[in-house]
Symmetry: D2
Subunit: 431 residues, 4 copies
């Protein structure tokens, strides 16, 4: 048997390839899907099925491409928004054979209306499911968000509760394989540990300790952020997106050429301290590992992007991230910031402030100065700072006019990375 987890960094998305006796299935493939075909063929497996736990809203599905390359059937849950162009609809209880394995469809709405889980059975191990692909219903240490249908949040929270009971009923022995790990935008409470079982979740997952009523109340109280690019993902994953470009290396630009390319955004993907040390005026700091999570707040569908990085390898990584979320009109990339800076080409820096100074200012209550906290709502709960103003980083692109360009702002987050993003955004707008 082959069992491989393909994790997509940045998005913390997990897809799976499972095979037995010459046949394979892929669960939730990402857009750049050569990896699944390579893995399967290397092991002499034919991909017969592509299973989607739900219509992904945070990344482009590779299902249509993989189906075209292999002739595999794509299976998807019943989608009220209309048929998924490249998939067949499957229903509760349908069973797929895969060598000595069986995959059984479980309708598990809540996160989305079309959400499925796939219970895994092994004919040699007849007593109980051996595992379950839980999609965005159940994570290690958390459950899926249930806020995508604002007008009926209470209903879908209840549906999610019922779906989770269906998963728990598979038995403590079953391993779980969710569609996301820690670090995803699809949930903030996921555990650092990558593996789990139904039994471990039943006993320890905080959400699974609640009764239906308390569960619904808890889900209604949660706040989640929904970046604008989710809409693009939803449309593309209904229609079927084309495969990504074959070569994910942007054209080489020089700093002096940047204007000529008429990019809508110059994204500086270097580490924050390098950005602070010197950067191209007007560029937006988006450290490469945060690109998947935050580019979708600042870049809109169809906008042209130029990239600034340390190395060509970093530009390649950034480009790859962008293709996975469909924001891949990359006009070119720049790697000569250091030498441009040394030659006096327009280069700006941003000062950092240490904690002691911030505390002193807060204490003095400086009149013309504001500490701007750009962390997420749930982080505030862990420690809000008195006297600070809160505006979530993701919302900055749409709500920055609420701030006063005449004031001095010091931006704060947990790691310094998001504060740099925010500071770069405001600096480019004259703050």
């Amino acid at each position: 048997m082959l069992f491989e987890t393909v994790e997509t960094p940045g998005l913390a998305q997990r897809s799976y390839l499972i095979g037995s006796q010459g046949q394979a299935a892929v669960i939730d493939p990402r857009r750049d899907c050569e990896v699944y075909l390579e893995l399967a063929r290397k092991r002499g497996l034919e991909i017969r099925y592509v299973l989607e736990t739900h219509r992904n809203e945070d990344l482009i599905s590779g299902a249509p491409t993989l189906a075209e390359w292999t002739g595999a059937r794509v299976l998807h849950g019943p989608n009220p928004a209309g048929p998924v162009a490249y998939a067949e609809t499957v229903r509760e209880g349908e069973r797929l054979e895969l060598g000595q394995l069986i995959l059984e469809v479980l309708e598990t709405p809540g996160h989305t209306d079309d959400h499925l889980a796939f219970a895994l059975f092994d004919q040699d191990y007849p007593d109980g499911a051996v595992g379950v692909f839980t999609g965005d219903a159940l994570f290690v240490g958390d459950v899926g968000r249930a806020d995508f249908y604002p007008e009926r949040r209470e209903q879908v929270a209840g549906q999610l509760y019922d779906s989770l009971q269906k998963l728990l009923a598979l038995g403590d022995q079953a391993l779980i394989y969710p569609a996301h790990g820690a670090g995803s935008v699809c949930g903030s409470g996921m555990a650092e540990r990558g593996f789990s079982s139904i039994g471990l979740e039943r006993r320890n997952n905080p959400l699974l300790q609640l009764d239906r009523e308390a569960f619904v109340a808890r889900k209604l109280a949660e706040t989640h952020y929904t970046p604008p690019y989710f809409q693009l993902m939803e449309r593309l994953n209904l229609e079927g997106a084309p495969p990504p470009p074959r070569v994910l290396r942007p054209r080489t630009l020089r700093l002096g050429q940047l204007q000529g390319w008429d990019a809508d955004h110059v994204l500086d993907v270097r580490e924050p301290l390098a950005f602070l040390g010197g950067h191209f005026p007007g560029s937006l700091a988006l450290p490469v590992d945060l690109l998947p999570a935050y580019a979708g707040w600042f870049v809109r569908e169809g906008e042209r992007v130029a990239l600034v990085g340390d190395t060509e390898a970093q530009l390649h990584e950034a480009y790859t991230h962008l293709t996975r979320i469909g924001l891949d009109r990359v006009v070119g990339g720049v790697v000569d910031v250091v030498s441009a800076a040394a030659h006096g080409h327009a280069c700006e820096s941003l000062p950092t402030v240490d904690t002691a100074r911030v505390e002193a200012r807060l204490f003095r209550r400086d009149d013309d100065w504001t500490l701007l906290d750009v962390r997420a709502q749930h982080e505030l709960a862990e420690g809000a700072i008195e006297g600070s103003q809160h505006l979530y980083l993701g919302h900055l692109a749409s709500r920055w006019q609420e701030l006063d360009p005449e004031r001095a702002y010091t931006v704060l987050c947990a790691s310094g990375k998001r504060a740099t993003i925010a500071a770069s955004f405001l600096a480019a707008r004259g703050f």
Copy 2:
């Protein structure tokens, strides 16, 4: 958290690297152990502990080398054969902290007297063990052999039963991480599936469905083979073996030079059909993927080996296998069999016989002909062939004199590979 399984092909051995918050532990490292240090350091983890579930008898431990490179503590169970030179002895109930994880020692004798399991706890998941490293006590679908102490087999089978109860007591939710997967010489009933939980094994593992008495009876009835190189492994793993050579590529020989190098064995690691098509007279067919399992039956400690392969990459693979079992006096390697054969250099071939002809001969009961079955005892159970003679492949090296060089033999196994090994062995002895 980092959790990586490092599987050693051929031996089907599994070792693990687990890390949390900057600290890591390695369970049952193999001899070529750069891989663990690379994985850990890439993720910013320091290896603090090297845990051995037992003194391995089928491969060389990398624990002493890894300890020397990292300063890690090596922990081992109480070994009646004397202290393990490079390790500290730990006892039931000792607990090691590793970031937010805890590893707890479980004494689990049976497979060997010094056998330990390590239960894994996650401080964020307080209710129940999240997993357990089961060593050679419990596999997916099988349990460890209990025949290493012939004079007290009944006692150790009972100890193994008790150790398994201790593992079951950890709860259905706990995942299991054994030291071997399907294909190991340490057990023949392992499942194809690589992952499992205590619950899955409790419900489905055939050995765990028995009571103590039936379990002991079953274990006493089992036959296992013990290749001679196990003794070498036991001694080296008590003393601590040195690291393997840095470059695992043998010197290049030409077929004409083979005699000059005065090798004790010429091992032809090509695929069986290639060997049958043409090979160097006197060479032993040992297809590279079977080398870990069968080289230890034919090559003794300190003997010199020359390798014959298709490609340099295949020689590299063969050499790597041999270093893992300590039979690494490789004097050189040859890749020019095809051209040597074409130039009329001594090259022999062996005929294959199809099933129909074998059946006809068996039916006719040819007097001067014997069908020799070299499969393992447990395979005979699945279908012995009437009229055939049985001699296990591994025993051929010590018992071939029992056969009659004047008779014609046709050798049989399940896949054709082991039959080729046996045929090559006999042909080299004038059969």
Copy 3:
């Protein structure tokens, strides 16, 4: 400056990437041309020019694909067969700037009418060309064949002589960069050494020691073979071929399924001794390293191919070779020959004969037996065997009916590989 040679194994074709100060040119790209773009972008270079020394007849050009991906200009010599669809025509003396380098066009007809060489100058080294891309005009130790226009062979041989004088005039100091190395079907006398200079060739290349008359006579006396697939290459390289498939791994077949797939050819790409040891009846032996040179003799445009190999990696290599010569209708691949053979699935073997026995038979002049020599004409010159019959391996596909199926044939070549191909071909036709 970047200078990279990309060698295509099997075809012994050489392409080049050269870059300076942010700009790059590719000379004679092969069909799978991601490699050039990756290399260039990694070094911050934009590919501005794709230069073709001539319309390749032995492999598919990657120029149209590379041009589409980069916007580069493709430059080609004046082609009497009509305009090259994806290229601009350049003429003697045109100069391209590439950072501090200059490439100058030299019309060098002879091998083909449209043949160009590109002399390379470095502005920092003004005295003399630093190198020259010689295409198929001048190789290390040989010159190009001049037999593609049968009706005017004398004329083109003379043109080639004149073109070579033009290259020699660049001066002894200039390095040469030909389009082929040793092992190409485009010339048999190429030296093992990969590098050379005009001076080295002027002094040592046997063809360059001749005067015009002797040169023409020598070229007219040469015999070259022209596989039928050359016509396909010529057409595709005039029109522009599409890029190869993204994933070059064939579908997995089982030996039992081969008939079901209705392939026109079953190509067994394993090493010859493995084929001889056991193979699928009717399959053609084509060891993977000989595939580029010989597949084009046996497989015609549009025919469906199934592959038999040792490993999936070998199938991948075979598939890659086939895409480079446009014979890539690969319906699937098989890797389970050994186990199929063991299970008595139709499997045949071919006997080898050692030199002593062949000599005895030749001496005895066996009446019903023929030694068939399938080597190339120029090899016969080095040692023809009295009493043998000659039929070039490549011609077997079209001329095998000249042989007598009632006779016994022993096939001979230099390395045993081509003899195996021929024997497999004849065996499949009932010989």
Copy 4:
């Protein structure tokens, strides 16, 4: 034939592997020399000879290690400082056979007394040498420095002239293979182009246009820098250095632990702008690509080094560089600067100044301010800045007390990198 160039980045050192008919030679191997053995064995070649053009002063030779691993003979020129412990001494005219190739020893003193070149002949190309390994005598566009024997500079410059004539006498056709490419500390005038021939150098290399007298005068007028670690290299390369550690990944430290490790130096190998944006107080900026060239000025033999980098991969690269120059007492590495900075851990930044402001200050002749130029002497020639003070970066470690800690300094170089190094050095000393 195999011909491979192994280039060592940072040091711009070039070593070569050349093989023919089963035998190979390595010219000037670096310390981490698995690469040569891997390359040779992959191609079925035995390394018979290790040739040293001279006792390297800028990096550790891998010759003793390679000899031990392969049994190869190490050949070295006659060394007046005493015998090279691991080598045989060879003399003018000795010839080594290597398959169809011949290597002939040319004594070529000047750069060092023991300097050899190795002319390469091909038995199939009898007329003229096909190439020559020129060591540090002749580069592409430059010749070796001749300042290592200060008391007899005139004599050795003349010797170098004579040695170069010997090389030129090999003929225009011969290719040259020097021990360094552009970017080496062994010469500043090397061309960007990586390949050349005797003819190209004879016609274009500026040093080869001079007569003996002018040549000697020119060499005497050159200034070169000699980092203190050269002495260590010379001693180690006489005695033979041990192989480098097997795993070149430093222990993981946290910023808070740095003091605990009691390192003599904290080297920050990130890019300059990141250092300027925020760094650990007292650390020395040494961007990883400059480490080979400048670490030897600041770190002395036996001193302990802690590394600060962006990523573990960068630390690995830095560690690898340090082992090549023997400064490899690496106590650990840090990658958490960004988060440490965000948490207010002691973190300092350095301001950059743009060219306009520098010009204004120079114009105003600020009394308490100095523009410090740390470029090399030969760069000053291309454009010294009036009013600036010059102190070569390499000399800062020994001569910084000449500067006035009370003054404000702005440091200048060509690319901004070396200025950052100097600024970090001075800042750590209270400037």
